[in-house]
């Protein structure tokens, strides 16, 4: 004789404290144990891919801020790289370095959020989040200095960046580089060695490397499963081939390792930033773009817009959440014929069901926190 209780469906979300936005997880529970998990999304679907088909290539850059709004820089970067690939534009050296610096600052800021919110999901009542916000805030200050915005940055441009950094940027960044390693050490000792966090996250949501690859999981999740894969090293873009850094890899593929990998990546980001601040050359920040001319018979949309040649391009970068790719198809017109975002948040969720079935509700929340989704990017 076994005790069997009635299955019990619980909706986590769309309005729920820890679904990181308007994501909904429909769990079928047997007691506290999850026997089925179904993801319901689309609450933040803005049909960006359709909208982008009606706008010029340059007008589409702000959309990429609003997918992963916690890492707008990397969103911008992946998109402009795709357009550059389509058109064969080489940005100047200084622009590449600026892109590297901004991407790494963004990665640090985004991981701050990821780790803080993850600790919150573990039940730490706001304290880690507030501490992480302190550092993120400093980085946002740097962004504000560079481009005037803090969240939706719209900084990258096709062929370069929108503007050069002001002279006070480098000293401010250097000062921050001096503070952050100490903070990181503090976070590592407070969070990674925390008995309760270890108990809550170790051995939970394990993905083997084979599973991780099969489920197309990327970014810190893939690396936590032990696959040393980082597009910055594997397929260097911007100025990553000129800096020295390591890929942080976990060994057991559990929630705890994802957390460990993110913290280690923050250290590597600091390493890259220090080198980049030293090595940044002077020079132009924007490549000359081919002059566009209006074609007779076109719709009256931005006559001087860029018109990439017919073709298609896929550019991918390592965003804080994983492989962020833009697939653009051009028919030679001023707007993309097809604009597809390979968003890591969305695709990382593929493995969520695999990870959550069989664990308890509390674990599911922690696992969802470790995937680190941004609903703007999931739903696009």
């Amino acid at each position: 004789m076994t005790l069997k209780s009635e299955p019990f469906v619980v909706n986590l979300g769309p309005q729920h404290p820890s679904t990181h936005g308007v994501f909904r997880l429909r769990l079928t529970l047997d007691g506290e144990r999850i026997i089925d998990a179904d993801m319901v999304m689309g609450y933040l679907h803005r049909s960006m891919e359709k909208l982008a088909e009606e706008r010029t290539y340059t007008q589409n850059i702000p959309f990429t801020d609003r997918t992963d709004y916690l890492a707008a820089m990397t969103g911008n970067l992946a998109y402009v790289m795709a357009v550059e690939k389509l058109m064969g534009i080489e940005p100047p050296e200084r622009a590449l370095w600026l892109r590297t610096i901004m991407s790494e600052l963004q990665r640090f800021a985004s991981h701050c959020m990821a780790i803080g919110i993850f600790a919150n999901d573990c039940g730490a009542w706001q304290t880690p989040v507030m501490h992480m916000f302190r550092d993120r805030e400093k980085i946002l200050d740097l962004f504000e200095m560079a481009c005037g915005a803090r969240l939706t940055l719209n900084y990258m441009r096709i062929g370069g960046v929108s503007r050069d950094i002001p002279p006070e940027f480098i000293p401010a960044a250097r000062k921050l580089m001096q503070d952050l390693p100490r903070r990181l050490a503090e976070y590592e000792s407070l969070l990674l060695d925390n008995e309760i966090i270890v108990a809550r996250s170790r051995g939970i949501g394990v993905l083997t490397p084979e599973e991780a690859m099969a489920y197309s999981v990327s970014g810190p999740l893939l690396r936590a499963s032990g696959v040393a894969w980082d597009i910055r090293t594997a397929d260097p873009y911007a100025a990553y081939d000129k800096v020295d850094f390591d890929i942080a890899v976990g060994t057991s593929g559990d929630v705890y390792d994802r957390f460990v990998v993110r913290l280690a990546e923050m250290r590597q980001s600091l390493r890259i930033l220090e080198q980049a601040l030293d090595m940044m050359p002077s020079g132009p920040i924007h490549a000359r773009l081919p002059t566009a001319t209006a074609q007779p018979g076109d719709a009256p949309v931005a006559p001087l817009a860029l018109r990439p040649p017919v073709g298609e391009a896929y550019a991918r970068i390592e965003s804080p959440r994983g492989e962020l790719g833009f697939y653009l198809v051009s028919d030679g017109g001023p707007a993309p014929f097809r604009f597809h975002i390979r968003s890591p948040s969305f695709i990382n969720l593929s493995a969520l069901k695999k990870m959550t079935v069989g664990v308890t509700v509390a674990d599911a929340i922690v696992i969802l926190g470790s995937v680190d989704i941004v609903v703007g990017e999931v739903d696009r």
Binding site: T2, S5, E6
Partner: protein
């Protein structure tokens, strides 16, 4: 029943206890029935207090309100399938007969007994007296009861263990 306060308290508690006991069988919702049962238990605890049995009263609240009714709530919520109602049953008539019989017996006993009042004395500390009695004079029944409860507990655990782990244990 010497002073008016106690008399008032007695009647109040008696009404509460008996009234909620009636409601237990009257209400349709099982959870409500358990709630009334808790009220009834608290009433009984109050009755004990009027009898200067403070230890028993507190234990009544602790065990019956805090533990047994919670157990019943648990059982009701965890039982799948079965309707949660205090439904009608075909045993109504036999139950009625049995109740009448029981009531008659109790009434007979109550009327027949020679209720001589014992000398009440002052309000004494009953806890230590009960403790002495349980671990002194009545230690054997006390221990037998503990063994019985232990056996019941182990039996319950064995019953709800999934078969797989029993098979493993046997292997």
């Amino acid at each position: 029943m010497d002073d008016t306060g106690t008399v008032i308290a007695f009647w109040l508690l008696a009404v509460i206890t008996v009234g909620s006991a009636l409601m237990i069988v009257a209400v349709r919702n099982l959870i409500h029935a358990v709630v009334f049962m808790m009220v009834s238990f608290v009433g009984i605890a109050g009755l004990y207090l009027t009898l200067s049995a403070d230890f028993v009263a507190v234990t009544q609240v602790l065990l019956y309100v805090g533990a047994i009714s919670v157990l019943m709530l648990f059982a009701i919520v965890l039982t799948p399938g079965g309707s949660r109602d205090n439904a009608e049953t075909f045993l109504r008539l036999p139950a009625l007969a049995l109740t009448v019989l029981l009531g008659a017996t109790l009434a007979y006993v109550a009327i027949d007994t020679d209720w001589s009042l014992a000398d009440r004395g002052g309000f004494t500390d009953t806890a230590s007296a009960i403790g002495d009695a349980l671990l002194g004079k009545y230690v054997l029944p006390f221990e037998i009861a503990s063994v019985l409860l232990l056996a019941a507990m182990i039996g319950a655990i064995v019953l709800v263990r999934p078969e797989a782990s029993i098979e493993e244990a046997e292997e």
